[in-house]
């Protein structure tokens, strides 16, 4: 399958899941599942930042337009994520071991580094998202709590979800 088609199908899957399932769950204000973050995290090490920014913009604006909330909220957070994606990977992985086709996963990065990767990216995304959603000083206390709860939940959820896309062991 051509890689761009694969990315596009993955894009549709995450977009539809977010709009029709996860945005419509009523889990209270402290839990907001954002599995679409994984869409941007699954791009290979060698993927260039410019097209990744376009993918980030596309999935962000798709989710914004599919919901009834504020336009630009997910777009902005996804763009920041696309921008830092490469830098985070580089800080976690040595250049010598850099494989051009490798996809970030538990298998290629190892447990601790993969969770650090997911954790850092999710936190950056959430900081941008929650501060843009309600930037008034009145809400700082509860926003930090929301950030921590949603962040912890999404890190575990996205790590588990990543097994569906990259298997733990090489097949055969």
């Amino acid at each position: 399958m051509p890689t761009n088609l694969k990315y596009f199908l993955r894009f549709l899957l995450f977009l539809l899941l977010q709009i029709f399932l996860f945005d419509r769950l009523s889990l209270g204000i402290y839990l907001y599942p954002c599995p679409y973050i994984l869409f941007l995290l699954l791009f290979p090490f060698s993927y260039r930042t410019a097209p990744l920014l376009l993918w980030g913009f596309a999935i962000g604006i798709g989710i914004d337009m599919g919901g009834s909330g504020l336009l630009g909220l997910h777009t902005s957070a996804a763009l920041v994520l696309a921008l830092i994606h490469k830098g985070v990977l580089h800080s976690l992985y040595t250049k010598e071991a850099f494989d051009n086709i490798a996809v970030p996963s538990i298998r290629t990065l190892g447990w601790s580094r993969f969770i650090a990767y997911v954790g850092f990216c999710v936190l950056i995304h959430h900081v941008v998202f929650f501060s843009l959603e309600s930037y008034m000083p009145r809400f700082w206390g509860q926003n930090i709590l929301r950030l921590l709860c949603s962040g912890a939940f999404n890190i575990v959820f996205i790590t588990l979800l990543s097994f569906l896309f990259v298997p733990l062991r090489r097949n055969k």
Partner: protein, 279 residues
Amino acid sequence: MPGNSSLLGRLYVLLLYILLQAAAITMLVRNSYFQQSFIMRGIHGIQYGLWEKSANIKNYFQLRSLNRTLAEENAQLRNRLSQLTDLESLYRSAMASDSLTVRDRAAFFYIPAEVVHSTTQRQNNFLIINKGKAQGVRPDMGVICNKGVVGIVNHVTQNYASVISLLNISQRISARLLPEGSTGTLLWPGKSSRTMLLTDFLQHQNVHLGDTVVTSGLSAVFPPDIPIGSVSGQAVKKGIYLDLDVSLFMRFENLRYVTVAGQRYQDEIQSNIEQEDAY
């Protein structure tokens, strides 16, 4: 870094990022403007229709409880109607020489609508209702239900309208505390879908637990004296003002039938306000 190791490559990425991020922030800041754009109108046309279908399926399973709520509301309205009919006849006899009738003088008209889609878990919650421009709904009209205030119409399409919910951190409405009747600003502190905060309330009044909060009628968006909720916590002093926790009478989670309240003289009031502003 293969691909963009050169300075020019990095600059290109940075410029692209700034461009896209600027577009995102512009949409965020001028949200209501972009919601009415050509593209969004097309998307809403499809989306709202889909939501209405799925709401219809969901509501089918709640018919019994909905029926009960409607019957209760019917009874309340009948009582109110009988009171008002008495008043009207009194009024008519007093104004026998006047050519205007009571009906002509009513400042508000009402359009019944159904909720097609709503959120309660975000910080900026919205509802979509199934009446729009074609049925006379316009932006800035108030939306109420039998148990209180729902929100204010944000933008309209041909047959649907998007309503900024009371549960939206950027929403402010003017409210009055009974029995003394002094006013304050009601806002949502973003936590529970059942509590609001009454702020800018002058300190020297007596406040008791359970006092009722109603709409003030000062804003010309909502009719006056619609019950919203009751005082549920101790007052907190903020300078010369008090902050009061208000527990809502309404449950946003299973809201189905609402009423859009249109101010008959909205244009006239608006043009007066603009004239005042001009001076």
